[in-house]
Amino acid sequence: MELSGGEIVIQSLKDEGVEYVFGYPGGCVLHIYDAIFRQKDVKHVLVRHEQGATHAADGYARASGKPGVVLVTSGPGATNAVTGIATAFMDSIPMVVITGQVPKAVIGSDAFQEVDTIGITRPCVKHNFLVKNVGDIAETMKKAFFLATSGRPGPVIVDIPKDITDPSIKVPYEYPAEISMRSYTPPVSGDIGQIIEAVKLIKEAKRPVIYSGGGVVLGEGSAELRELCRALNFPVTQTLMGLGAFPGTDPQFIGMLGMHGTYEANMAMHNSDLIIAIGARFDDRVTGKVDEFCPHAKIIHIDVDPASIAKIIEVDVAIVGQVKPILLDMLAQIKHLDETFDRARIADWWLQIDQWRATDCMAYDTTTGTIKPQYVIEQLYKVTGGEAYLTSDVGQHQMFAAQFYPFDEPRRWINSGGLGTMGFGLPAAMGVKFAHPDADVACVTGEGSIQMCLQELSTMLQYDTPVKVINLNNGYLGMVRQWQEFSYDSRYSHSYLEALPDFKKLAEAYGHVGMTIKKKEDVEPALREAFAMKNRTVFLDFLTDTKENVYPMIASGKAHNDMMMGPSSKYKRNES
């Protein structure tokens, strides 16, 4: 088969099993777009801004487990995509981004819409390629998908100069079935000796905590994690990125840990004698003050990326490899223990944890008439039966969603944890809808974040991807306002958003349904009404309490046992 470069790009996607490409055309990708036009297998989604394309592909990848694919033009097309690429990079999301480049002959001449895409994206991709020959496109595409999806996943860029996609130049096409790279061998199973060492520590632990992260979701290790946790009866905490890998409604789950984690999770970490970190990277939002992190604990760290190990926290047993085979090997070792392993041995530890739990650390004032953001999330949980896919933007609403919507399944909770990208939620929700057309998908957002990628409401109408937008509108950049209240004597420097649009009318202008909810008693009925409209995107603008804060909170630079508790919790200072 002889194909042009443009056709090879699209045929490679087809051979890779790609269903959707999120993109935006422009001069340097016109040949590729013409190849898209002349086939039907790979479907293109025309976004309204390249950032939206990357977030949509990212949401698709997070919800489906398959790599997200993006196609944008050179120059501004590529630079607009950078935020979404960096977002995917920080959260290790598999993504292949095809960027057009100016013709080879003019690279370096400051040509129209020329930018050094390889240079600009280098620090925020797993790898990037500049393809120089039409005959190299297929193999490069194969390498890109291999790199993006194996080992620690991440975004990979394929930068393609326009001249090598010329329709008049055809070359033989064959998509490689397999690819190997001498410089890249992703780890598979873990070292059995290390696993045995880990099991020894597990056997001796009296105050253990399982600390599980996004790697368990990405590595499809959820079933094995559940089996391990239940076999051991150890308390389980999860990072923001890990939520859902272990069921959020299971009594063994002690809540999210870290800056806005639960009191019981953070206190358990601080007082633990053994931390089993699985697919988690000891992010600063998780560890708090590093010098005082888990001062009494031995640490087992399971991760696919050797560079994650001992980067922030020194560990006692490191196991490098894919989470699933490692947990299976660990389970096999634990089964040998059965006769000597006493699950009741940690009964005292559970008693202690239950005491911490009794502080009801996330409690909020339910007596006021104003709409509390937490209340909206609780009602959202109720109305969707806890089974929706939730995307979020970044800020207070993100934390409220993480705290008040317990996820029982992995890949249901989709948010920008590492980079913290406002504007992520809406296009990501659209991407999720492409992955799961029949599922309920909601985007929890705020009036600040939603305006950063609002234009994708238009794409959502065009492609009929109905999403429920849960806008927790408090008129403030809430998380900024909260920090200013705590750390800057309530000097609210530029955190109040004046001149907000009428979101109801705005949604209607985009062809969707808009609702404004001002009263607490209207929250649940509005949600029911919105979710009953299966085929419509509904923008629910909830006018919420303007001064609500996210509790508990570990202030920046503080340790796990030094938490700020909300006024409604039952916490008493002398308990600690």
Partner: protein, 164 residues
């Protein structure tokens, strides 16, 4: 406790590979004391040697992060074993009896030799270990008109190699 390490690696000889390595050092705020790179006998590979300073923990991270780069094929820390390190220095001095005397005073084992003499200026070529060269340059002091250093390269002694 910070210590100097010489890390040597085989890189895919592709455009952009060097910037991935140097970019990693700047992005993660690691030090580069010197960096030198050239193709190997196998033209598909380059050998890059970087001298860096850091605590054991930082050096460990540097090596892991370098290994994570897709273009890095293999890596060795020459400071972990008995190795031979060399750096080449070319320096220009004004020809005078005093400078020629200083150079000859350094002795035959200094490996310093006068390579060029043009218009009353000498170019001296000298190779050696980095620390020795630092001292050598101090000795000549104000006599030096211009100096260029190649950056450190090295090989581990004995059986240990960095090859595919």
């Amino acid at each position: 406790m910070s210590r100097q390490h010489i890390i040597s690696m085989l890189l895919e000889n592709e455009s952009g590979a060097l910037s991935r390595v140097s970019g990693l050092f700047s992005a993660r705020a690691y030090n580069i004391e010197s960096l030198t790179v050239a193709a190997t006998i196998d033209p598909s590979l380059s050998r890059l040697t970087v001298v860096t300073v850091g605590s054991d923990k930082v050096i460990e991270q540097i090596k892991k992060q370098l290994n994570k780069l897709i273009d890095v094929v293999k890596l060795i820390d020459l400071s972990e074993s008995f190795s031979l390190e060399r750096e080449l220095v070319l320096l220009k001095v004004k020809k005078s009896d005093a400078t020629e005397q200083k150079i000859s005073d350094l002795g035959a084992d200094s490996m310093a030799r006068i390579t060029d003499e043009t218009d009353g200026f000498l170019i001296i070529e000298v190779s050696g270990e980095k620390a020795w060269l630092d001292d050598f340059l101090l000795t000549l002091g104000d006599d030096i008109v211009e100096v260029v250093r190649s950056g450190v390269i090295g090989l581990s002694r004995g059986e240990r190699t960095l090859t595919l």
